[in-house]
Point group: C2
Chain length 684, copies 2
């Protein structure tokens, strides 16, 4: 503790010292740094292959690992799909799935994967649409209109899904074009006890022993998709200190945040989010514990909440660490000092909106936005469907660029795939979620709201009436209403449609307020700051994560814990049995039944999980970890606890990315799951 | 729903319609009502026997059930003791305990039980000490001084523990004198799976199958205490509709609350408490799940939190039910209308403090009070010990009546028993709790507080330093400091003592503010309202619960659920096996091992758990349910979900008290646990 300042001076402010920091854009790869440090030249065809072979999953990442559309991702990324494919009789999430032939591969209910085809810088065009004298609202509107226009032109011209992405918090705008894969079939998933050995207690911990993998296959025209650009599979195990890459979709980092913004995050937003998560974790756990079938129905939601809670707790621990914060403070002071020396920036700074007085405004707007628009009040799936139907009807009557983005032509196909999915929805889960939502809103913003029908009924009575009354469980009914447009909506006596219709005005208003008063201010503020930082300190190399494709590099590397324990770079398969034995084989540390049965066949010294210094974050789940030959050496599935504050501040002292070792995947598929046909397809 | 108003008019405002409502004082028993309705005359000697044979446990109730000091209470009331008596090798809470002989009965670490000997009305003397023109602070001080004086005089004169209790929220003051039993030994506890079959999912549910009982024995002079006044044990099973009584210590009801006060409770206090509970439930569960030994160490705390959370959720469901609230509104309107007709009250009302503008003040004071004084910031046991030592030193130097009440002579013996207990304290649990407390305070009232040492260390670093640095795990060290007085405190370099000393001023200030500005106002407000209600409507029979001894009457009676399901008045032992089978014997519905082994011996038609209309609430746990002959027919251990809102509003439509049937206790002790010697002692 006593050498605090010394440490700070040595390690802070010089991000270049953290040689492996960075989630790089594919149109601005770290070619120079990697060449200098590792002597490896990133070539354009290598980059194109990695880019096109990496797939965006809902909330995560996957990759093509054969020329016949075979896809690798995490078991936990696939969990939602596995749950949807399950029934009371057949629990694929819990018990796993092995398609022994191509014919047995199981079509998913709703899954759309995206492969990035090209990136185009459209910053000039977007920025030109916003004039300096515009109000926040006008600026937001103008920017959205030009973005919708660019996306539509691109979709019309190329047929590809086209998204304009704001980078550097609005400092740059790039147009991303994606090829969509919509016929995805399940090939192989281990049982959950193997996929998530150690459960929530081991999540974000290391050493680990998880086979957190699932394989799908993309189909086109009812045949396996042809995917010549795919990752290979490494012939040899990765070595200590070896250079490795990760391509994937880190969802969000906040490394550009100001100190005051960080404080607001730490003291207002994060506690608010944590409170919601604690609440949901309790409500879902309690309901799940009532029976095995309840738990099957809620497990996907519950695991998601537990994961979010652990991430937020890790962030919080980082943000409450004075050492990490001091480092940010020194960076901030350096920026201020540099600005003082620059007369042009000093002049411009006058016109910059101020964040300090702004957090009260934020909090006057946020709850309304979260309740009405983000689903805090109505977290039931049938309500979300009702809202989609209502908005689809009214938005379809407007010109494309005036619609809410998700109802613009470029997004309609995806929207309808979700809207008309026959994924199961459970009445009891719907009532549970809606009761909780109505109770939460009553707690936070007043009870007995007539607009929600709570002046006549308690939350549980109201939720029950709505869920039991709606016909939106039926896909045909959804299609009927969607086809009937505004007329069908206005004539509907479905209580969920009525509620969605009645609440829509307030929800749209709340959304507009949030977007024009909060998001717009942040965009203007941080895009300017980004420009100045570029001027003053040069290119820092990469923008904050935005759930778009990024490349990171690093090395396979163990670390040393605070208490002096040396943690080696990888574990072995035998370690799972040892860990289970230490816990008397009690859940969640019990040996999966298939692993107990086949223990004798396994080479227990096979590497199982491994750590590397790659800069990743949530959304990178399912990313391939690969070598210089673009061959898979592992499958990213987690970060350790020390990595969780990298949301705000990267460090490679102890923070590590955690992967399933490629060798463990092959060993288990061959010796436990009888998936030799897939192992052969991987060329192993 | 459509007949809402009709229902309200029929059932509201006339509390007398709810014939079984009431938690009656032993000096104002419901003699007339019981005689009229059931033809049973409550006699003074019957009342004295019930009063003296009922025992106050920490947080609950127990009763003498033999002439040799045998005591019956709930397993969950005994849980803290069972946990303290456990070690890593021998888990009494989980596995139970059977003393086969008197010699094997196991002395508890810290347990003090109270038997109420007499009640004296001291209202006049207390009220006379407070003059009409006194400030809130002066009034609070004057009242506390006279109460300390009364208690001291009584203790000096009788040697009995003497507490002045505020009833009717300050409308009356009664002096309660207790005989203390301090040598308590454990006789019998079933394994937790029998004591709490169905776990948290079944808590507050019905039908139930729990053997939620534990037996202790009081000793005096190292011999079983002579307790001629004790409950008998019923020779025959209780019948449907039979009159039954409960004596015990309902902890707290809020039935006198104003509508605006209820709204404040519902929208501010209750959500705040729930957030804390959700948080603790998550933090404790997650830590407990890491290993079986962690779970053993935290289980008592975790179960307590789960229980509180379920109670609060039930209260919340009631408070968000417009029907229940309408009933309160009609009562409130009736009161207002009556006041309008009474000129004297109208004149007095001018001088009554106003609650409506008061809730903001409340919330400006409460957080500080909860953080600094109530332990939200420092929930570690070693900190509580440090604070006790610090205060003991400084308070001992003051005259008795100027001390904080818990350091006055009449309470010192109990305080020291707790302070010098050698009950185990676990370093890891202490770090967990203190980290959570410091994090919670950082979240709620700003990070990096220098006063807490958080400007140099993160919460976990600081908590670790404090817990690893303190010597207060050692009872001898506590005694050394206690004997050394102020000098020992000021010379101590124990970090926990230093923290307790440094934080004491702020804590005392926060407490004083809360007591003089909030509690005093509430006392003045509600005591006046209580007086007027007495004038306008006559004696309503009983004051809100205050964790003092109360008598309630009711009948054994089933009920009908909202969906039409008829719920019979009692379950049978065989039902436990059926319920386990329905859940594939998965925890928490697994048959306890000893019950599986001895199933053949049991009469499966023995009544197991039963419901009655008695008006009870938390604190009644462990209360005897008894017949007109003061013979035990059951053991209260729970209320059903519908009873939870009786905190605010009593109803006997579906709300029920839940007991273990006396027959099940005898059957299990004989056939499963081999406790024939105790069954014989019960006279069965």
């Amino acid at each position: 503790m006593k050498h605090l300042l010394l440490i700070i001076v040595l390690f802070s402010s010089a991000t270049s010292l953290f040689a492996e920091e960075g989630m790089f854009l594919f149109n601005n790869p770290p070619t120079k740094a990697v060449a200098e440090k590792y002597g490896f030249e990133i070539q354009p065809d290598w980059l194109e292959r990695v880019q096109k072979a990496t797939l965006r999953f809902p909330g995560g990442t996957g990759s093509f690992v054969s020329s016949s559309g075979l896809i690798m991702t995490n078991h936990h990324v696939a969990a939602g799909q596995l749950q949807m494919l399950s029934t009371a009789e057949k629990n694929l999430l819990a018990d796993g799935f092995c398609a022994k032939t191509l014919e047995e591969e199981l079509p998913c209910k709703t899954l759309e994967l995206l492969s990035l085809q090209s990136i185009e810088d459209v910053t000039e065009r977007v920025k030109a649409a916003v004039k300096p004298d515009m109000s926040f609202e006008a600026a937001d509107k103008a920017r959205k209109a030009v973005i919708a226009q660019i996306e539509k032109e691109s979709t019309d011209a190329t047929g590809l899904k086209s998204d304009v992405v704001a980078l550097y918090l609005g400092g740059q705008y790039h147009l991303y074009r994606y090829k969509k894969y919509t016929d995805i079939r399940l090939v192989f998933a281990p049982e959950q006890q193997a996929g998530a050995f150690g459960g929530d207690p081991d999540n974000f911990e290391y050493p680990r022993y998880c086979l957190d993998c699932t394989f799908f296959r993309a189909y086109e025209d009812d045949k396996p998709a042809q995917t010549p650009l795919h990752f290979g599979w490494a012939k040899e195990n990765v070595k200590d200190e070896q250079l490795v890459f990760v391509s994937g979709h880190p969802a969000r980092t906040n490394r550009a945040y100001d100190l005051s913004h960080l404080a607001f995050h730490r003291e207002v937003l994060l506690p608010r989010t944590l409170q919601k998560l604690y609440r949901l974790e309790t409500i879902y756990s309690v309901w799940g514990e009532r029976s095995a079938e309840n738990m099957r129905r809620i497990k996907g939601d519950l695991d998601g909440v537990k994961n979010s809670r652990k991430v937020r707790l890790g962030q919080q621990a980082g943000l409450l660490d004075p050492h990490l914060l001091l480092q940010k403070k020194i960076d901030s002071d350096a920026f201020k000092a540099a600005v003082e020396q620059d007369e042009q920036i000093l002049a411009e700074i006058e016109n910059l909106p101020d964040l300090d007085g702004f957090y009260d405004v934020w909090m006057s707007i946020l709850p309304n936005y979260q309740f009405n628009e983000q689903g805090d009040a109505f977290p039931a799936r049938t309500f979300q469907i009702a809202r989609m139907l209502v908005r689809l009807a009214y938005e379809s009557e407007k010109p494309n660029e005036e619609r809410l983005p998700e109802y613009q032509d470029s997004n309609l196909e995806s929207l309808k795939r979700s809207l008309f999915s026959d994924a199961p929805i459970y009445e009891d889960v719907e009532i549970l979620k809606l009761t909780n939502g109505l109770t939460y809103v009553s707690e936070m913003s007043g009870a007995f709201k007539p607009a929600l029908g709570l002046d006549q009924q308690s939350p549980i009575q109201r939720a029950t009436e709505l869920v039991k009354g709606t016909k939106l469980f039926d896909v045909a009914e959804r299609k009927r209403i969607a086809e009937g447009g505004v007329k069908a909506i206005e004539e509907s006596d479905d209580p969920m449609i009525e509620l969605a219709l009645r609440s829509d005005k307030a929800a749209r208003k709340a959304r507009k307020e949030y977007e024009t008063r909060i998001e717009e201010l942040l965009k203007q503020y941080y895009s300017k700051r980004a420009e100045w930082k570029l001027l003053l300190f040069g290119d820092t190399g990469y923008p904050d994560a935005t759930f778009t494709l990024r490349l990171s590099y690093g090395t396979v590397k163990g670390y040393t814990e605070d208490d002096g324990t040396a943690v080696p770079a990888w574990t072995e398969i035998g370690g799972l049995y040892d860990r289970a034995a230490k816990h008397q084989n009690a859940p969640p540390f019990d040996v999966p039944e298939s692993w107990a049965r086949n223990k004798d066949k396994l080479d227990l010294t096979t590497p199982f999980n491994l750590v590397s210094t790659n800069d990743i974050i949530g959304g990178n789940s399912g990313s391939p970890l690969f070598n210089e030959n673009a061959e898979v050496v592992g499958l990213i599935f987690d970060g350790n606890l020390q990595s969780l504050s990298s949301d705000m501040i990267y460090s490679d002292t102890q923070a590590r990315a955690v992967s399933v070792h490629a060798a463990a995947i092959v060993e288990a598929m061959k010796k436990i799951y009888g998936m030799d046909r897939i192992v052969n397809e991987l060329g192993r």
